[in-house]
Every structure is written in C-alpha cells, then in structure tokens.
Amino acid sequence: MTCVKEVIKDADMIRLTNIHKTYQGAQPLHVLKGIDLEIKEGEFVAIMGASGSGKSTLLNVLGILDDYDEGEYTLAGTLIKNLSETRAADYRNRMIGFIFQSFNLIPFKNAVENVALPLFYQGVGRRKRNALALEYLEKVGLKDWAHHYPGELSGGQRQRVAIARALITHPKIILADEPTGALDSKTTVEVLDLLKDLHRQGMTIVVVTHELDVGMQADRIIHIIDGQVVLGTTEGQECEQQA
C-alpha cells in the first residue's frame, strides 16, 4: 500500500544524508548508523522505535542540541554542521520549536514569561514580547492562566504553554519528544488535536514517540531500528482514512 499525499510541497524542510553518530566512552556506542531522511515542508512525521533505537539521538541532532560525526544535515536550506554553540543557539532560537515530554518550563516564571522567553533572546522588548506571548497563550486556550506559574497548572496546561513557547518565534519546524508521554489519555487527545491544528496551518512537525496511537496521527511514520531507518514504512492516519 502506498500513499502519496498530493498537497505536500516539493521543498525538503529537512534532509539527512548518511548521518552517523557515535557516543565516545569506555565502550564506544554507535547510535546512528547512516540515517538518510527527507521531510518535506508542511509534513507531520512521527519517528518511532524501541528505546535504545536511536530515535531520541536523531531528534537531538535534528534539534541542533547535539552534533553528529558524519554525513550532512540541511534544515530549510541551511547546512547544519560544525556550528559554534552561538550559531547553534541562534538557529535553535529562530528555526526550531521544541516540545518536551517533561515540558521544560522554567518553574519561577509564569506562563507569559515562559512563552515570551525565546523572544527575550531575540532582543524583543518586554512589553512587545509579553503581548505576543499572551496572544499565543490565547491560541492554546490558556489566556486566563497567563499569570499562573507552571506549578499551578495541570500537565496538559503545561504542555500547551510549552507549545505556545515553541510557536512564538515562528519556527520552521516543531520537534516534539514524546509530547504526550507525561499526560493522561484525555489531555493526550487535547495536545494531539493542537498539533494537528498546527499541521493544518502548514507547520512542519516531527514527533518522536513510542506510542502507536500518537504515531498514527502523523502523515508518515519513520521506524528506527538499531540506528537505521527501516524502509517501506510510509503509513499514517490519512492513508488509513483513504483506505
């Protein structure tokens, strides 16, 4: 069964060519063994694999949080290789929106301040970035919770704050690492609906998950087994619907 989605655009948002990554140590660990991967603009892709398969490492490479040893990674036409930490920080700030399993909100900042923080690092003035942050909180339905601290929010609300924070810089891609891993089934649905909304607005989204339910929401599932992409796994929710 093949599924070719007509609406996707030609441009590759992400292109990985023969990516290798080895963790050095007493026992060197070859985690990524030649990953070749293309993700088009506007795609919603799920990366799935067992724990230890290398899927998280792959996401870290995609998110410029970690480097790789061999191969080439191009993000939105920019070669991401051997960057200084300063350049990497700038690229992360402008091109990537992160959503983490554990939310990674700063506990002593309220929702607005957390959402506005990426703009602080772009040098946007306080008033302007707080106004924008409020706008994004409204989009994720948390306007009334704007001045609450993460500790006062539920898991689902925290993740929605994190999503607002990921969106505020208009990133090229959203990278989500087990975004529903810490949520119950009801809030999982809420968060996934939010991601699907973003997808419909044309955002490129990459989700790493080991939950098939979550993976099934994506256009395409990329299976990683033992550091390699397993071919012929182009599947997903919309294909199923067509079937």
Partner: protein, 418 residues
Amino acid sequence: MIDTLQEIYGELRRNRLRTLATGFAVTSGLFLLIVLLGAGNGLIHAFQQNLGDFAFDAIHVYGGMTTKPYAGNREGRRIQLDERDVRMSERNFAGRVGDVLPTLTQTPPSASYGSAHIASPSLIGVYPAYRRTMAVKMLKGRFINEIDLQQTRKSVVVGSNNCDHLFPGDASPIGKALNVSGVMYTVVGVFKANEMSNANEFYVPYTTLAAIYNRGEFIDQLTMTIQNIPSEAKMEQFTDDYYRTSAALHNYDPTDRRALWIWNQARDNIQMQTAMSLLHTAFWVLGLLTLLSGIVGVSNIMLISVKERTHEFGIRRAIGARPWSVVRMVMLESVVITALFGYAGMVLGILFCEWMDHSLGSQTLDIGVMQTTYFVDPTVDLLTCVRATVIIIIAGALAGFFPARKAVKVKPIEALRG
C-alpha cells in the same frame, strides 16, 4: 539592559536565602576589613600621639664603670665624661651628630614655694639648644637662654605638673621665687611635662648649676641629635664607632659596653617605626584574609548556584540562549549581589569606625603613672574602602564567570538531562 536586570531581579528574588547567604559573606567580609583597618589605625594613631612629645632623634651618653681590665687598668674604674667628650663628638662625628649638648644633673633634697614643696627635684643644667633637641614644649614664659648662661642667672623652667602643685591657683608662676634647698631661683617658664620622661625635671642654666654645685669640667651627660642614620644597621655602626673613639679617649676596652652608656632613643624610634609598620601590615593581612573569606563564600555559593541551575540553563539554551548570554547573566547576578551587599558592608564598616571614634576615641586610660589615649581617629580613608569594594565586586564577577563558563561548555542536551 533593563530586561537583563529584570531577569536577574526575578532570579535573586526566587532564591532569597541564597542571595542573602552570598550577600552576608560579602557584607561581613568588607565590614570586618574596614573595622580591622580602622581599629589598627586607631591604635597606631594613639601610639604616635602618646609618643609625639619625645625627641626621637636624640641620643644620651653617660659615663659608666669598666667591667674589663684594659692597658694596665683594673676593671671597676669609673668613666667620667668631661669637656673633651664634647669636642671629640663634634669633631669625630661631624655629619652624623648635630647639636652636642653637655648637661648636668643635681638632685637637692627639696624645692618649695610657700608651704608647697617637692622632694628630690631633678635639677638639669642645660644649654638653650636643649629645648630643641629634646622637643621640650613651652606652655608659659621662656626656656633657658644665652644670657642666663653668660650671667649665670638663677633661672628655672618648671614642669606643668609641678607648677600646678607648687603654685596652686596662681594665674602665672612666672617671676615667682622658687626655693631649691636654700637657693632662690626665679621661675622664667613652664614646660609641658610628659609623665613618661621629664615630669620631675627643673631646667636651670648649665653654668649656674656648675657654679653652685662646683662641678668643674666634668659632665654628667651628653645629649646629641643624630643625623643621616636611617637604619638600625647604620645605627649599630655609629654606636660601634662611638665606643671605639670614646674608649681611646678614656682608655678602656672598646668592647666594654658598660664603661659608657648610650641611651639611644633614635634606635628605639627605628624599632618602633618597624613595629608600627608590622602592626599595620598585620591588620592588612587579617583584613585581606577576611575579604578573601568573603570572596571564597561568594565563589562557593555561585558554584552551587550554577550547578543547581544546570537544567534551567539547558532549557534557556534549547530555546536559543547563546552561551555568552548565560555566562553574562550569572556574572551580572554575582556582581549585583556583591555590589549591593558590598556597599552595605562598606557603609556599615565606616559607620562602625565612626562609632568607635566617637565612643572609644575620646576615652583615656589611666595606667597609674600617666594617662594615655589608646584609640585615636580609628578610621579608614574612603579610597581604601572603595578599593576594597571594587575588588570584591571584581572577585564576584570572576566567581560567577568560571562556573558559568564551565556550565555552558557541556552540550545543551546534557544540560537538559541534568
């Protein structure tokens, strides 16, 4: 910049206890430094003031008793100074001594005025230059002058304490007749008596004393001002030279240090200056160690703080904080803490010094024979305070810099896991 400061304010407010702990280390460090230096200065100033009346460039030479046989003479021979010693000192030590003044000392049974009397007054027969050499401070009237000497007048200069005792209630004792064991002297002046040196002395003209007590050519004591002898080593050299020359004159063993007594205030002075500067240094060392302990305190807390915040830094870096902006934030935090609390420590230290000046600085200590102030102007100059504050702020910046730089050297993903 305002944004960054607001970031820092949020951070400091969140960690109130840590902020206070850091701040306390800084405040106490600076406070103690300033108080220690202030107290040290107070002691040194008091010491200098108490000794201010002494003539530090004077040495006194007395004849002694030989303890070694020499050139056919047995030990136990008295050495009596005379006019030759004056000429020898002037000729052989030109350049190293200034005035060479012979003095005579006589202790008659009493001095009295009316019903008031003093037992065993020390009559000192002096030359006019003695006042300058011994830094005698005149309160009233004049010192012994040339005419007193030429005319062998019976003039006397009385110490202020004896003056109070002998002439109670009198506005001025000048012109009064003082009966010194039957000889009537006219009081010509009053000098400020120092309990540690000249309180019981009565200065009379050298020639007068020599004539009345029939002292001939002999001299009790030589008082000399010394010049161009800057160190203890030079002073030792001078002493050795003096013994050698004097021994040749009086025919005694030049190594016999009991044949001649040299009371050397100048050497005492050099030692005292050394002791002062040692005291000064000791207070500085103590103060700087206190400051250092403050700096170590700040460094420790910054180290822990950065370690605790590894995860937060990971989040910040993941969403686009450059390494330098993280380092700068930590440094600024540290600088803000040290500057605020350092300033507080400085102000408290200065206030405490002022309080010491106010309360202890004016008190005198009665140690029986004399009264002394033991604390004078216990303050530190402002420049020193400001310098110390600046040093601790710089140290604070460095204390933030090194752990923060280490923290941003790990990959952001490791920081996020941490």
